[in-house]
């Protein structure tokens, strides 16, 4: 099919503009992270007058970035592992069994996703504070509290996407496993989970991204020692000055792991979205 010139030109112009729009902040992030503080404090320069790696050294000193990094890693990692495991069981039940209340379950779980986060924030804040007062259990401000909160955010999506993956695995495989003497749970772990591994990986990446990027709960439910990157990055602003070169360097450092992971595994995520959303 030969496309007419009008189409080719529109496409060329549109895609060029869009690429510029997407690249602009990425360019600012990279170029500013390599500038000295005097350079980012003055007029913006498209071409930096001098390059320095200094900001990448200083970011660890100005704020305890390594601690925030570890906190984010622990919270996002634990939330991911738990939500994937819980979702595997739930998705297996939804995909392979017909039971009373199934529709209510799926609709309820999914509709919680459309509610504003602020609706859950105020009560959860009070629940955590009150549990702490009553039992001495430090949920508020602790990593555990944040993990608990986060793992349910990715749970609905994980259950939905895994159900789709499980649906696409032929039931003959389950039957074969049963003939070989596996129970239902044995079949799940020996047959379904290995066959759905790409989907499980994609769900894990999504869950990790969600937790790594969350701001609202992190800003309320953390304290000095449990602060995550989402909140910690604001520490580069002092009373009088913002160390923009360090902010950009730190942003880049905390983004690289998730962006790389996402781009490597996006094929699975896209495939999962396609399978579930469009058919």
């Amino acid at each position: 099919m030969a496309a007419p010139r009008s189409f080719l030109w529109t496409r060329r112009i549109f895609l060029t503009l869009l690429t510029g729009f997407v690249l602009l902040p990425l360019y600012v992030m990279v170029s500013s992270s390599l500038k000295a503080l005097e350079d980012v404090s003055g007029k913006f320069e498209w071409i930096p007058s001098g390059l320095t790696l200094r900001p990448y050294v200083d970011i660890w000193e100005t704020v305890p970035l390594a601690d925030y990094f570890l906190n984010s890693l622990a919270v996002a990692g634990a939330a991911t592992v738990f939500s994937v495991v819980v979702a595997i069981f739930a998705a297996y039940a939804v995909s392979r069994y017909d039971f009373r209340g199934k529709r209510v379950f799926t609709v309820t779980v999914l509709s919680t996703q459309m509610f504003p986060g602020i609706l859950f924030l105020l009560p959860l804040f009070l629940i955590y504070v009150n549990i702490g007062n009553a039992t001495g259990l430090a949920l508020f401000g602790s990593r555990e509290g944040l993990i608990l909160t986060y793992l349910t955010f990715s749970l609905p999506f994980s259950i939905w996407m895994l159900t789709g993956y499980f649906d696409s695995i032929p039931r003959e495989l389950d039957e074969a496993a049963k003939v070989d003497g596996c129970g239902p749970v044995g079949a799940l772990f020996r047959v379904i989970v290995p066959a759905a591994l790409p989907g499980i990986v994609a769900v894990a990446v999504y869950a990790f991204m969600t937790a790594w990027g969350e701001v609202l709960f992190a800003s309320v439910m953390t304290n000095d020692t449990t602060r995550t990157l989402a909140v910690g990055l604001q520490g580069y602003a002092s009373q009088n000055d913002v160390y923009w070169n360090q902010v950009m360097a730190a942003s880049l450092v905390v983004s690289v792991p998730v962006v790389a992971g996402f781009l490597l595994l996006q094929r699975y995520l896209v495939a999962g979205l396609t399978a579930g959303a469009v058919k």
Binding site: M1, S6, L15, V22, P25, L26, V28, F44, V85, A90, A93, V94, S95, Y97, D98, F99, K102, T106, V109, L110, T112, Q113, F115, G117, I118, L119, L121, L122, P123, L124, L126, I127, V129, N130, N133, T149, T152, P156, W160, T163, D167, P184, G213, E214, S219, L229, L233, V247, M248, S251, L252, V254, S255, V258, F262, L263, L273, T274, G276, A277
Partner: protein, 330 residues
């Protein structure tokens, strides 16, 4: 896309499981019937703990006089009846007035953001449908704003919007000579446009991803048949591509609407705890009314009102779109 799509899927699963699953269950007896519930138990408990209980509590809190004196023991807070709601929707008083203004700002902002995200995402997906050199690279690049952590992306935009050392003013004022003096972007009326730009930048790739997935389901021979009939590329886009995307678009627009309307992260990172009036989105507004004044009762009432509004809009939207679908099927 997630929630509606899932509903669709669960319907499919229910249909699928219907006749086939019944005999299997009869064979297997009580243990089998208990098993799905056991498998669901962890998910159920967690949902109960983190979503359902807080939601019920939030509704309860909205009927209480929950000021900072009662944070330590919220159940002892005095009953307020409908007072919190009265304060929230008393549009002659400052609190109600500010809430109403924030609501309208959010509506306008959401409409603009969803429209632009949809437009950019659809155009990009359609233009990248055919293979050409550089297609793979662009597809990957366009997903980067989606993958980037929100705060890292928004903080970069905040830097670009700085009055004295940001890129935006450097280009607009210094290089293009617009305006007598560099504009403020993060305070005052311009902040609405700054917020919209950031929201579209990180929101459109999701539309792109979804539409791209939808395009894969359009059979190739429809295009071939149209080409044989003499329809050019533009005609094919208008008469095949766009109509085929209708169902995908219905889900996409709803999800974009809900996410944008509820967005807290973007204004919070861009402006800090208090947004300028022109860009005072409702989530941040409620957060601010709750945590800066420590009045959780009114904050909860506002949250519940927001929830009711979203439920209404979603309900009407689903009703309209499914009715339209039935009519077109007939």
């Amino acid at each position: 896309m997630t929630q509606t799509a899932v509903t669709q899927r669960s319907e499919r699963a229910v249909r699928k499981a219907g006749p086939g699953a019944a005999p299997a269950q009869r064979r297997s007896g009580r243990r089998r019937i208990a098993l799905p519930y056991l498998l669901l138990l962890p998910a159920l408990l967690l949902e109960l703990l983190v979503h359902l209980v807080p939601m019920v509590m939030g509704i309860g809190m909205s009927f209480k006089e929950l000021t900072q004196f009662f944070i330590r023991d919220w159940s002892s807070a005095p009953w307020a009846g409908l007072d919190n709601y009265r304060v929230a929707i008393d549009f002659d008083a400052p609190v109600g007035q500010a809430l109403l203004k924030s609501f309208f700002t959010t509506c306008l902002f959401t409409l603009a953001s969803v429209a632009l995200c949809w437009l950019l995402g659809t155009a990009a997906a359609v233009f990248l449908q055919e293979n050409f050199r550089g297609r793979g690279f662009l597809r990957t690049l366009f997903l980067v704003p989606y993958a980037l952590p929100v705060y890292a992306a928004v903080i970069t935009w905040a830097f670009m919007f700085q009055r004295d050392n940001g890129l935006i003013n450097h280009v607009l004022h210094d290089q293009l000579g617009i305006g007598d003096s560099p504009a403020f972007w993060l305070i005052g009326d311009n902040s609405f446009w700054a917020l919209l730009t950031v929201s579209v930048w990180k929101g459109w790739p999701f539309a792109f991803l979804t539409v791209m997935a939808g395009l894969q389901n359009i059979p190739r021979d429809m295009y071939e048949a149209a080409a044989l009939d003499g329809a050019g590329v533009w005609k094919q886009i208008r008469h095949i591509t766009l109509p085929s995307l209708r169902q995908v678009n219905q889900v996409l627009v709803l999800v974009l609407f809900l996410w944008t309307f509820n967005d807290f992260n973007t204004p919070f990172v861009l402006f800090g705890k208090a947004a300028p009036e022109a860009a005072d989105l409702i989530s941040l507004h409620i957060y601010q009314s709750s945590f800066l004044t420590w009045n959780f009762g009114t904050g909860s009432a506002m949250s519940v009102l927001l929830l009711v509004f979203l439920l209404l809009v979603t309900g009407v939207y689903l009703l309209l779109t499914t009715r339209g679908r039935k009519a077109s099927d007939a």
